[in-house]
């Protein structure tokens, strides 16, 4: 017993002693790694000594102890205080120290997520999770394992705006491919919730075309939503899976998403009645996938699509004419639809209420304003950063040994060895 007490205290003492300079911290890190099992077995005793440690200075030690404490199965009563401790720690910890042990940090954050879900109060986990992501990321372009968990919390709590702030960053580095799939899927759902269909389409497209070795359920679900969002936003759907998607996806996606493809086909006819029969047929499947809300949005979007098609044929049209060709019930409804579309900026028209005529106009954008200049300027800047990244990736690729060996293999048999240096196959020191 005494021995155990001593070892627990000695650990705490060590943590307190060695948490100042970076050299000490790396020493502490090795020490903690070695005493990991000890910490786990002592977790209950160490939990009480957590109060002696300051999370901002002794972050690394605190992290290890916290991880040990929270790794066991948690009871509901403890969940709440766990959440508080973890949240406080995350807000106070120092970034450099936790980056030394990222897996532990990730595991306590996942723990946080599980506990708030268990408490049915996901909103409590959002702010700490956001700080955790920002501290774990090496740059805003880095996708960590915490991103999908954070997005899941936002979805459960219906706090879509917070999720959007994370989604605005462009991603260039990914820790694990599975993170990317989940991130794209949840991100797509958040964007759909915020009615930002273009961004949702982009994220879901990334999930569908991500490189895969085996079929993944995430990809299938993402493909279903992708079909629906592309119908809502673009008014059409290209049934061929893009060529740059993985071969696994190309072969198998169609088999799993049959009802959605039929929906897309009936949408393409432009007739509302056909669409509705198709929906009635597959109603259960849509509801099981929790996609019925999206399906209803698809139905309302078909009216918009038809009205937009009218702008290409007519210059002026009466409201009755619109109601007839779009299969709406009355001119009043047609007026509502057209008014809504004008407000959303989807068409340009004027409604003359006296004689019930609608006149379709051209896009009044003259591209002459200063606001347009700023838009183009920012796009050019983004393009320039992208170009720099691509050049860097290109150079990296040129130095890649796999690439060089392939290139060398093709060249070497045909040319004289005297004239050209053969490409080194292996670089041994």
């Amino acid at each position: 017993m005494n021995l155990n007490m001593n070892s627990a205290e000695s650990i705490v003492a060590q943590i307190q002693a060695l948490s100042t300079t970076p050299r000490d911290i790396s020493q502490l890190h090795t020490f903690l790694k070695q005493s990991d099992d000890l910490i786990r077995s002592e977790s209950t005793r160490l939990a009480s000594s957590l109060t002696q440690l300051d999370p901002s200075i002794h972050s690394l030690g605190f992290l290890y102890i916290l991880d040990a404490c929270t790794s066991g199965p948690a009871a509901k009563e403890q969940a709440s205080e766990h959440v508080l401790t973890i949240a406080r720690f995350v807000n106070a910890c120092s970034t450099e120290q936790i980056r030394l042990a990222p897996e532990k940090f990730v595991s306590i954050c996942k723990r946080l997520k599980d506990e708030v879900m268990m408490l049915a109060a996901p909103i409590r986990g959002i702010a700490p999770m956001l700080t955790a992501i920002r501290k774990l990321q090496s740059s805003t372009e880095h996708l960590t394992t915490l991103h999908p968990d954070f997005l899941l919390l936002c979805l459960s709590a219906k706090c879509y705006k917070k999720g959007l702030s994370i989604l605005e960053d462009d991603i260039y580095e990914v820790d694990q491919p599975r993170d990317l799939l989940l991130y794209g899927y949840y991100g797509g759902m958040i964007c759909i919730g915020q009615k930002r269909f273009r961004k949702a389409l982009e994220l879901l497209h990334n999930v569908v075309t991500a490189p895969l070795s085996n079929m993944s359920a995430i990809t299938i679900e993402a493909y279903k939503k992708y079909i629906l969002v592309s119908l809502i936003h673009l008014g059409q759907f290209n049934a061929t899976v893009p060529k740059y998607a993985s071969t696994v996806a190309q072969r198998n996606l169609k088999n799993f998403t049959q009802p959605y493809l039929e929906l897309a086909v009936s949408y393409g006819t432009g007739k509302v009645t056909e669409l509705e029969t198709c929906i009635r047929q597959h109603r259960e499947k849509f509801q099981n996938d929790n996609n019925f809300g999206l399906v209803r949005q698809v139905v309302s979007s078909i009216y918009k699509r038809n009205i937009q098609r009218l702008t290409q044929t007519y210059l002026t049209l009466s409201l009755e004419g619109i109601a007839n060709s779009v299969q709406l019930n009355s001119p009043k409804e047609a007026e509502m639809h057209v008014l809504q579309m004008i407000q959303d900026g989807e068409i340009y028209a004027t409604i003359n209420q006296k004689d019930g005529m609608v006149r379709f106009l051209e896009d009044p954008e003259q591209y002459k304003s200063c606001a347009m200049i700023e838009r183009i300027d920012s796009s050019i800047e983004r393009m320039m950063t992208l170009s720099k990244k691509l050049t860097a990736a290109d150079e990296l690729m040129s130095c890649d040994p796999a690439y060089l060996s392939r290139v060398g293999k093709e060249r070497a048999p045909r040319l004289d060895f005297d004239d050209y240096d053969p490409v080194p196959q292996k670089f041994t020191m």
Partner: protein, 325 residues
């Protein structure tokens, strides 16, 4: 011979004429000179003169010279080939019914006495022809165009009425299409060895450089340097005015008057129509650079993907030997 003209005719010269003349000269010179790097041409060859006719429109007091064509000079009779001229004139009349023979052109450094004979011979077609002279010698110090327009005037010299040449001022006039072609010519890079071509084309090069300096060619780099120069000069003026205000420099009223007249011209640049056009142009240029960036990016991406496929593509080609030169 060189006094300025007293008639109040305004001459407008199109760049096409200048390019035609210089082209004519260069062609004839390169055909007669033989290979440019033969060492036998140590001495300067006798000055070569080419001749031709200029045509255009005369509206009231404005003479606009649009085009030109070549003529053969008959050394024996010291006159231009009349039959050919008439034939050419008829042909041009069919295509451009408005154009008249306005005069003639030649090359050289100054107008000669013998030119007056040719000038007089043209007087039956046009009672007051113009003489366009191109100076083909390369003079980089000179910033103006090496082209002079002469008219003929009747002056009393030594109690004898004589026709002499007098210089006239002219301005450059251009149409949009001409601007494009001149711009294109300005950017011609000789495909063979650079020096040979530039030796044959000195008049062409000078004219083009001067046209650029005249800054109506829509090339961005000279415009940029011109704007930089303008900016630095305004700064100098500003500095000078500040110093004058502080009392460091003596007040010079004539300069102040010039500056104030310059400033009074500025409001013409502030109107709404100017803003509109300016912003539209600005946006167009931005779009072009955006497009260029997009193309650049897609090209880099293409290279990257090719390399990636070569390195990691599992389905390698059968046989492994492809044309790889």
């Amino acid at each position: 011979m060189a006094s300025s003209s007293s008639s109040n005719l305004t001459f407008k010269l199109h760049p096409l004429v200048m390019l035609n003349i210089s082209d004519h000269y260069t062609r004839v010179k390169s055909q007669s000179a033989g290979p440019p790097h033969s060492a036998a041409l140590a001495s300067a060859p006798p000055p070569l003169r080419v001749f031709g006719c200029v045509i255009g429109v005369q509206r009231g007091r404005t003479v606009e010279i649009f085009n030109s064509f070549e003529l053969l000079f008959d050394d024996s009779t010291h006159s231009l080939d009349r039959a050919f001229l008439i034939k050419k004139q008829e042909l041009y009349k069919k295509v451009f019914p408005n154009f008249y023979v306005l005069g003639w052109y030649s090359t050289g450094s100054d107008a000669e006495e013998s030119d007056m004979i040719i000038h007089k011979s043209l007087m039956d077609i046009n009672e007051s022809p113009v003489f366009v002279l191109l100076n083909p010698s390369v003079n980089h110090a000179q910033k103006d165009l090496p082209i002079t327009i002469f008219e003929s005037e009747l002056h009393i010299i030594d109690a004898v009425p004589q026709l002499i040449f007098v210089r006239s001022s002219y301005s450059i006039e251009t149409v949009e299409a001409e601007r494009i072609s001149v711009d294109h010519v300005a950017h011609l890079k000789p495909s063979d060895g650079g020096s040979a071509a530039t030796q044959c084309n000195p008049p062409l090069l000078i004219i083009v450089e001067c046209l650029i300096a005249a800054s109506f060619v829509r090339d961005k780099t000279p415009m940029y340097s011109a704007i930089k120069m303008l900016n630095s000069r305004i700064r100098v003026l500003h500095h000078y005015l500040l110093a004058m205000e502080k009392g460091d420099m003596p007040c010079e009223n004539s300069l102040l008057r010039q500056v104030s007249s310059l400033l009074r011209r500025l409001p013409t640049v502030e109107s709404a129509k100017f803003q509109d056009d300016f912003l539209m142009d600005y946006n167009d240029t931005l779009f072009v650079s955006y497009l260029a960036m997009l193309t650049n990016c897609s090209s880099t991406m293409n290279d990257l993907v090719d390399k990636f496929n070569t390195a990691y593509d599992r389905n390698s080609r059968r046989g492994g030997r492809t044309a790889f030169i």
